[in-house]
């Protein structure tokens, strides 16, 4: 006599509409083999292509799930009742689903991701032999379209590794030209590239790494006017920007378009990474609703950055991008990774989606792109209102004017508010070094009767020093416009720039 098997509603069309049938076997495996021989239509719905029970098919012996017994080796007695019980699962598409879906829509053949050539199979063999990637994952990579914002410190490792990994379409947005000061970390570019557009040297380098993929260059400064159009054709956006206005712009555009943002940022010895703007995860604004006051957080150009740091952080961004495409592992969604290179430590903060977030919350107030320079408190340099200019005239001095006055023999006290290591690189002869952070405790070294010129690298820090000195009663303070860089450009080209 056979063992009784209870059949769930959706499978009864394959068992002549019966809710229970009998089959023979000493184990669950044998029993199901006999069942699918007698009722062949069941097989495709119970087993996957590899001949394994599908994950949403649950087999119970009496009241026990065989996963907690001996799985398909679970022995069967004549008196046992075996039940096939469905789990029902589904959900909205993830990034990996969306890429597969788009590939199916645009593929040469229906229901197909792009296939791999023999050359590609050889190139990607170390991916193909891992089950997490395999042929399916590599074809998803080939179908994927990723846009890299910036071809600088972060953009270099991101673009190089994504190109090597076989991301089929790699877009890059940049408008800059390669400078000597880039070469310490921007490994897309080499010494012979100095003076070339970054896009040109990036394209050469990436095509040398992988000629199988398509490199799309966008020669533009990302703006509220062009961001949505630029992002629209891509699946994932990788943020390699170095300033707050662009960072908020990238975040908001990603949320509006529903595209994940593989985020990274670097400063000195510290890096940060996360994946923002996915459907179920927080965005950059959930973490930082408002930008810091302008000038509070120095940029890498002002504060410096360890050359290898963007290598570490960019590789994390590239890793997360690939995971999103192949749908493997646990993405860095809702997690904020902080890397301290000096201590060599990674820390992780939990992030939650903020229901009150102005962009991705339940009642968003920002539904289209705004003026991000203004949002970050940065006002355009030109045109300056006339009234402001007249005030500036009284508080600023240009490099040429300073030189003329020094040559005339005017008694000017020049205070350099940069850091000692910057002072070692270049300085205005006769200047006194008081780093900005020390000004509040050392300003009494200065005589309020003197005419004082404060100076830094570009004029931002010295502007703050000038404000401070005026606030404590100094009346004759001038800020050197354009800092030492302008001084070197216009007065003393013999000194090195940094």
């Amino acid at each position: 006599m056979g063992t009784r098997i209870l059949i769930p509603t959706p499978l009864r069309p394959y068992t002549d509409k019966k809710d229970a049938v009998e089959a023979d076997g000493k184990t669950v495996g044998e029993l199901l083999a006999d069942l699918t021989t007698k009722h062949a239509g069941l097989k495709a719905h119970l087993y996957n292509d590899q001949g394994k029970l599908r994950s949403f098919v649950n087999i119970y012996v009496n009241d026990e799930d065989i996963r907690y017994l001996q799985k398909e080796q679970t022995p069967i007695n004549a008196s046992d009742t075996v039940s096939i019980i469905p789990s029902v699962a589904g959900g909205a598409p993830t990034t990996a689903d969306a890429i597969a879906e788009r590939a199916r829509l645009h593929g040469a053949r229906a229901d197909e991701l792009p296939s791999l050539t023999n050359d590609e199979i050889k190139r990607y063999s170390r991916h193909l032999i891992m089950p997490e990637v395999g042929m399916d994952g590599q074809r998803r990579l080939k179908a994927a379209k990723v846009l890299c914002i910036g071809a600088g410190g972060l953009g270099s490792p991101v673009a190089m590794y994504l190109a090597a990994a076989g991301v089929g379409t790699l877009g890059i947005v940049d408008f800059d030209v390669v400078d000597f000061s880039n070469l310490q970390r921007q490994i897309l570019h080499g010494t012979p590239d100095v003076g070339r557009p970054k896009l040109a040297s990036a394209k050469d380098r990436l095509e040398a790494i992988n000629p199988e993929i398509s490199i799309v260059t966008h020669n533009a400064a990302l703006s509220s006017e062009n961001a949505l159009d630029l992002f629209a054709p891509y699946d994932i956006i990788v943020d390699g920007t170095d300033n707050f206005p662009t960072r908020y712009l990238v975040n908001d555009a990603c949320v509006i378009l529903g595209k994940p943002n593989a985020y990274g940022s670097i400063f000195r010895f510290e890096g940060q990474a996360s994946v923002f703007a996915t459907k179920d995860g927080p965005c950059y604004r959930c973490l930082y609703p408002e930008p810091p006051p302008p000038g509070l957080v120095p940029s890498c150009a002002e504060g410096g950055v360890l050359g290898v740091l963007p290598g570490v952080v960019g590789c994390i961004q590239a890793t997360e991008t690939i995971k999103l495409i192949i749908g493997a592992g646990e993405p860095l969604i809702g997690r904020f990774l902080i890397f301290d290179a000096l201590r060599m430590k990674f820390r992780e903060l939990k992030l939650r989606k903020d229901p009150d977030c102005p962009v991705c919350g339940t009642h968003p107030t920002v539904t289209k792109l705004i003026d991000y320079e203004q949002f970050c408190g940065i006002h355009p340099a030109e045109p300056e209102p006339v009234t402001v200019k007249s005030v500036n005239d009284a508080t600023e001095i240009t490099a040429v004017e300073l030189k003329q006055r020094l040559d005339r023999g005017d008694a000017l006290k020049i205070v350099d508010v940069r850091e000692p290591n910057e002072y070692q690189i270049n300085r205005i002869a006769g200047s006194t070094l008081i780093p900005l952070g020390d000004v509040p405790k050392r300003y009494n070294e200065l005589d309020p009767a003197d005419e004082i010129v404060v100076q830094c690298k570009s004029g931002v820090r010295s502007g703050k020093a000038a404000d401070f000195l005026r606030s404590v009663g100094f009346t004759r303070v001038l800020n050197l416009k354009g800092g030492i860089i302008d001084w070197i450009d216009k007065v003393d080209p013999s000194q090195p720039k940094y």
């Binding site: 509603t9 019980i85 469905p86 029902v88 459907k279 989606k353």
Partner: protein, 138 residues
Amino acid sequence: MPDPLIVDQEVDRAIRRHGEETYPHECCGALVGDGRRVTAVVALPNTTEEGPRRRFLVRPSDYQLAERRATELGGELLGFYHSHPDHPARPSQFDLDHAWPTFAYIIVAVAAGQAGDMTLWWLREDRSTFEEGRLNGN
């Protein structure tokens, strides 16, 4: 496949309300009826451990509960419904990979907390894709 599948007005309202209540998470539940007409729904808990904003899971014990409730209501289990928060009412690859044959799958799109499009899908016999069915003759 009953075509079109008729969904009673109260059932329609209940599915939409359930999707709005669980937003921004996915809701799920069972469809009960008589073959070509859905007359009742059984709201079920979403037990997924993969993040309920984009996944739902009806575990085996809740599936059995749904079959029992269908019998008690004098009908049969016709299929399941779920919501797609902030996403169109079209089945995903994940939906396809986990679909059961002969069941009706109703998807309701819930955008910014507001239920919108509702669509009906049937798994093709060879499991290759979903075919869109007609709801209430639309």
